[in-house]
């Protein structure tokens, strides 16, 4: 028998489960082989040492601990059964944790997706503002190189075609204030020299719509008796004047807007929106939609209503309806 085979059989031999023939062969080999005999002795010593190892004892309250756990488990099991048994749901913690993770990941991805989709329009708006800047630069320096201007306007029209949102901005000057103030003061001062005070009131009515305190004849006739400087200069009449002027300005704005509206209708356009004139003067806007072909006509007609602050932009090409934004700027 070879040593390798003998070593393989040693374990079975020690346990007495080797068949008699193999056992006899191994015993014969062990008699002649010191190495295998040493191996046998070492293995035998190991097995007997393991057999003699003192057993590790359980803690003294082992049984009590089992009882405690059995009792605590019994009520937990009842709760679990009442909760999940009717639905036959098995809910291992790992599965619940995995489900929670999946939900979290989906949520995060969803939020990111939303953010990305909201970022897109903002990029467009930055592009738009860049184009607006170009438009401004086109408008302000009056004498630009022709080629450059046309190329910029081409870009603008191309962009406005692309987005179809960009309106043409027209700034109109509404200037009733100075003239009204002059008229108002002159009326105020001329009033006593005019024999019929009713006429003065009539003028005021014609010009301004309603100026109630001018229409009082007695008060007007009393004016020359008083110091004229006092009557014009004091704070109270001045503040009255201011209010009056604001009122006139507002009325004139309304008139202007009304006329613009009429014009738009005449050119088969539509008024899209008109901002409330209670807002700050620079926010008074009117947005209209108009056929591109009638833009030049529209601008020409607007000139008759009120002057432009800056030169109106060139007419866009094409026949698509365009948006024109009119800003009413107070001349003050």
């Amino acid at each position: 028998m070879e040593c390798s085979r003998a070593k393989k059989l040693l374990s079975d031999y020690l346990d007495g489960i080797l068949d008699s023939r193999s056992g006899a062969q191994l015993e014969l080999h062990l008699l002649g082989c010191t190495g295998c005999r040493q191996e046998h002795d070492a293995l035998k010593a190991l097995v007997s040492e393991l057999n003699r190892l003192e057993p590790v004892k359980s803690p003294p309250d082992f049984l009590d601990q089992i009882h405690e756990r059995l009792e605590s488990r019994s009520w937990r099991a009842t709760i679990f059964k009442t909760l999940f048994f009717p639905l036959r749901i098995k809910l291992p913690l790992e599965l619940a944790a995995a489900a929670a993770m999946v939900a979290l990941i989906i949520g995060v991805i969803g939020v990111q997706h939303k953010e990305l989709s909201t970022q897109k329009p903002s990029r467009i708006s930055t592009m738009r503002s860049a184009v607006e800047k170009k438009q401004d630069s086109n408008r302000l320096p009056r004498k630009l190189d022709k080629v450059e201007t046309t190329s910029i306007s081409k870009q603008i029209t191309a962009y406005s075609k692309e987005t179809e949102i960009q309106p043409i901005v027209l700034a109109m000057v509404v200037k009733p204030a100075k003239s009204v103030r002059a008229r108002a003061t002159s009326v105020f001062q001329q009033a006593p020299s005019v024999p019929s005070p009713g006429k003065a009131g009539g003028v005021a009515d014609e010009e301004n719509g309603s100026v109630s305190h001018f229409s009082t004849p007695q008060r007007a006739s009393e004016m020359p008796v008083q110091d004229p400087v006092k009557s014009v200069a004091p704070e109270a009449p001045l503040s009255k004047d201011n209010r009056q002027l604001e009122e006139k300005s507002r009325l004139n704005l309304e008139q202007t807007r009304h006329r613009v509206k009429k014009l738009v209708q005449a050119l088969a356009g539509t008024v899209l929106s008109a901002r409330d004139d209670q807002l700050a003067p620079d926010q008074r806007l009117m947005t209209v939609s108009l056929a591109a072909g009638r833009y030049n006509e529209f601008v020409e007609q607007l000139r008759h209503i009120a002057p432009f602050q800056t030169r109106p932009p060139a007419a866009p090409k094409g026949r698509t309806p365009i948006r024109v934004e009119i800003r009413f700027i107070s001349s003050e």
């Binding site: 590790v56 004892k57 359980s58 082992f62 049984l63 009590d64 089992i66 059995l70």
Partner: protein, 201 residues
Amino acid sequence: MNTVKSHPDRSYNEDNDLIGAFQVGDKSAFDDLVRKHQDRIFNLCYWLLGDYQEANDCAQDTFIKIFRNLAKFRFESTFLTWAHRIAVNTCKNRLKSFHYRFSRKVVRLDNSGESLDSVDAIADETGSPQMAHEKKERRYLIHKAINALPAEKKTVVVLRDIQGLSYEEIVKITGLNPGTLKSKLARARQDLKSKLSGDLF
């Protein structure tokens, strides 16, 4: 908290009698079964897991499973074989569990393995203090060598050489065929011998 009191008139001691009594409603028979076998099952769990507290948990789990299934016991094997099988499977699952692996990692970080003190739980009543120390040290080395074995080899060598079970019983417990069992046991013993060689032999 022992709520189930032992029956005073009961004279049967054999496992099968106790199981029979349990099956007809005498729940205190279970306590007797636990008392009779708790140390053996505990010892098995200790050597399979290599940790006293883990062994305590798993041995308790084993008896709780026995309590739940004792009513269905069909006497096809001995109670001890059956209890061993449940204990081996419980320990195997514990070794695979995340909790066990995690706690082992933490212990290793703190302690880098088992310490000599961890074998203090074993009572030593014989010999001089010098001998006791040597015995303790030797036991620690064996503990370390067995723990280093792969799970299956560890199981067969513990069942055979520490628990002293027969080949037939081990076959029933592990489900291995006898040939595989023999070769696994031979290799496990060889591994242990070479790990412990130089220390005693």
